[in-house]
């Protein structure tokens, strides 16, 4: 047992002290920090031109004037208007008006201006042209169009003699609530989840799946490449004569697990640290996340599936790493493992809105996928206890098998050099060793 911890300690120390590891961790932490602060940073630059000033000339002639003024009134009535209409005095002739407005743009007073034709068209408004220095001001014209449609609607409704209440009724939004229920035994009202709970659970599932995937990808590759490196530097021969291969393999896997946990904990700390900064409080509040709504059982399941999933993949990566004798060949050899973990990850991520699909149900019993997809089902649908136990049981059995086979392959593979051994050679050599 003692030498097991020696291996664990050595693995952790070498990894954490390594320059490459420190640098990548810091870079990812930096990217996370920037990502979290991005809304705030954008806001800082965005503040000045939140509302666009649009000029118009209050020309004589009732229709023209009323269109501009009613737009102005419409935007002023809004809480956070995206456009502010700025009226200008009529200078008497079109050329003078034009030059006045252009000057206003130059001075930064307005971003552009709206010109009205003299005649009303069929749609009830005069011909309008929006003029600005920028090309492609579609969002601006769309916004103005939308506002004008609403203004027209209000005008017509008013003319039709509807009361204010009737008008309010017409514009009131219609809402449908969703509540998830459980139809099996013991299903009562309390077991249903509100949309908010569902949202939080979905968040937890999302985060756990991403963490599991990241942990598997980074540590899996690290485990495999470390073993291959030990093999190619022949230090393996000395290690195997010092400590039993099984201890060595699990020491390495466990050490790597601790490293990944340290890394993930560091990222979480970075996320929380950034999120709790005063300027980010508002943004998070908007997201409406209430962590107290998380089902504690889900967290337990998530942790269990995280551990088992990690362990299963780690042992297989160790086996792959021990077969390959040169680091150059490693990428090719771990490819199948990478694809499997990618497949599990994507099935889960793309099925997050359809957690009850046949694909998810079937894959939640297949060992290498189940850590991803069973977690999805547990978080977003009601799963009977026997289903959970069955999935978990299959996972545990497959871990046992994989540990046994991986340890054998490890014991055998680490002493095989030269070309990549064929399956036949591996099988034959495996028979020769006791673990």
């Amino acid at each position: 047992m003692n030498s097991f911890w020696t291996v664990v300690g050595f693995t952790i120390r070498n990894k954490v002290k390594g320059k490459a590891f420190v640098i990548t961790t810091l870079i990812i932490a930096l990217v996370i920090s920037i990502g979290i602060n991005l809304p705030y940073i954008i806001e800082q630059f965005d503040k000045g031109d939140k509302a666009t000033n649009v000029g118009y000339v209050q020309m004589a002639g009732e229709d023209n004037q009323s269109t501009g003024d009613s737009l102005k009134a419409f935007y002023e009535a809004q809480e956070n208007p995206s456009i502010v209409m700025v009226p200008f005095e009529d200078q008497g002739d079109a050329a003078a008006n034009e030059s006045m407005l252009k000057k206003a743009i130059e001075d930064g007073e307005i971003k552009g201006y709206l010109e009205f034709g003299t005649e009303l068209t069929d749609n009830g408004f005069p011909v309008m042209t929006y003029k600005s220095e920028k090309l492609m001001e579609f969002s601006m014209t769309e916004s103005l169009q939308g506002s004008l449609i609403l203004i027209r609607q209000a005008n017509i409704l008013k003319d039709a003699g509807l009361s204010n209440e009737q008008m309010a009724q017409l514009s009131a939004p219609i809402k449908i609530d969703t509540v998830q229920i459980y139809t099996g035994e013991g299903g009562n009202e309390g077991s249903g989840r509100t949309p908010q709970e569902q949202g939080v659970n979905m968040g937890v599932v999302y985060v756990m799946i991403i963490f599991l995937f990241m942990a598997i990808m980074t540590s899996g590759n690290m485990i495999a490449s470390e073993i291959t490196a030990e093999k190619s530097s022949r230090v393996m021969e000395i290690l195997i004569t010092s400590v039993s291969p099984l201890k060595q393999m699990f020491g390495k896997i466990f050490g790597m697990f601790v490293v990944v946990i340290i890394q993930v904990a560091f990222y979480i700390a970075v996320i929380l640290g950034n999120a709790s900064m005063p300027h980010n409080k508002g943004a998070l509040g908007n997201l409406d996340i209430d962590l107290s709504l998380v089902d504690p059982l889900l967290i337990i399941y998530a942790v269990l599936f995280f551990f088992t999933g990690f362990f299963l993949f780690a042992t297989l990566y160790a086996a792959v790493g021990s077969i390959v004798s040169r680091t150059e060949d490693l990428g090719q050899a771990v490819m199948p493992m990478t694809f499997i973990s990618l497949a599990g990850f994507y099935i889960a991520i793309f099925s997050i809105s359809t957690p009850d699909s046949m694909l998810v149900t079937v894959t939640s019993y297949i060992p290498l996928f189940s850590p991803f997809t069973m977690l999805l089902r547990l978080g977003l649908t009601e799963v009977a206890m026997w289903e959970t136990l069955l999935s978990f049981g299959i996972l545990l059995v497959s871990i046992y098998v994989s540990v046994y086979v991986s340890a054998k392959i490890y014991r055998t593979g680490v002493l095989m050099y030269g070309k990549r051994p064929s399956w036949k050679e591996i099988r034959k050599a495996m028979k020769a060793y006791k673990i």
């Binding site: 030498s3 530097s233 022949r234 021969e237 000395i238 010092s242 039993s244």
Partner: protein
């Protein structure tokens, strides 16, 4: 009870026999030479002793006990090729390897410092292995094999890649280890090292033991076939003596091949009749010659 006993071990790979019915014993404070041409089965034998691979037949006993994890900590291994972490500091990995074999961290550190001092390279303590030259890496490799005070050390080509000064340094260290009671299984292609260090040897050829026993007896078994003669003047008629098969004139005299030892006396008598004899020697065959004859003979 000898520390290491190898009894009739046989190892078969897919289609060929790597080691066939090999037996030997290494006593306490003994260096045992394992010789053979390339691919003769030396490394396979050593790996079996180390427990890296298991023999198909026969057994290996350590102090009378079969292989187990408990025996691991008593073994030290100096592999033929470098086996160290290139990117890890010397101190870190030597202490790690010693700890794996059951030594405490403090003891391992103390021993490491002792060895570095002994090899006159204390500054390597904080260096990474990849920063060292090949010869110096070999020193570190040597320390890795002996730092945990093993009872049995297996050395595969211990002196390869070293300059003559360092070969002497390591050789004297190996002798010290032997004198302190360590059993050493030793393989090399340098026969003069074997003659200097080993009491008993085994010569392997194509997986089989072709020659085995104490070095002295082995040498006696081979006839003395060479006479070195140093004289002032030329000697006439040596080639006519019965049993002389070849004569070569050298700067100092003659190098004479004989097929029977009695011819030696005849040569001396003849030489003394004709000139002053400065040097006369009937040479023992060197291990090099024995090796080439044993292994070479069976080559065809």
């Amino acid at each position: 009870m000898k520390p290491l006993v190898v009894e009739n071990v046989t190892k078969q790979y897919a289609d060929k026999t790597a080691v066939n019915n090999n037996s030997f014993e290494v006593g306490e404070g003994e260096i045992y030479g394992l010789l053979g041409a390339n691919g003769a089965g030396k490394t396979t034998t050593m790996r079996m002793v180390l427990g890296l691979i298991f023999p198909d037949e026969g057994k290996i006993l350590y102090n009378g006990k079969p292989y187990s994890n408990e025996q691991l900590s008593k073994l030290g291994y100096l592999p033929e090729e470098r086996g160290l972490y290139p990117k890890v500091k010397v101190s870190d990995q030597i202490i790690y390897l010693s700890q794996l074999r059951g030594m405490s961290k403090g003891d391992a550190d103390r021993n490491l410092k002792y060895w570095l001092e002994k090899f006159e390279v204390p500054e390597y303590y904080n260096k990474k292995v990849e920063e060292l030259s090949k010869g110096n890496q070999q020193k570190i490799q040597f320390i890795a094999a002996v730092n945990h005070k093993p009872q049995i050390v297996i050395m595969d080509e211990a002196f390869s890649g070293l300059d003559p000064v360092n070969v002497e340094l390591l050789k004297s260290t190996v002798k010290e280890l032997r004198d302190s009671g360590t059993s050493i299984l030793f393989s090399t292609h340098r026969m003069e090292h074997v003659e200097e260090l080993c009491r008993n040897i085994t010569i392997l050829h194509r997986s089989n033991t072709v020659l085995k026993g104490s070095l002295k007896e082995i040498k006696k078994r081979f006839p003395r076939e060479r006479v070195i003669l140093g004289t002032d003047n030329a000697i006439g008629g040596i080639e006519r003596i019965a049993g002389v098969t070849g004569v070569t004139r050298t700067e100092q005299g003659y190098d004479i091949q004989i097929s029977m030892e009695s011819a030696g006396a005849e040569i001396l008598k003849l030489a003394m009749e004709q000139a002053n004899v400065n040097h006369f020697e009937i040479k023992e065959p060197t291990l090099n010659e024995i090796f080439i004859r044993t292994v070479g003979d069976r080559h065809e």
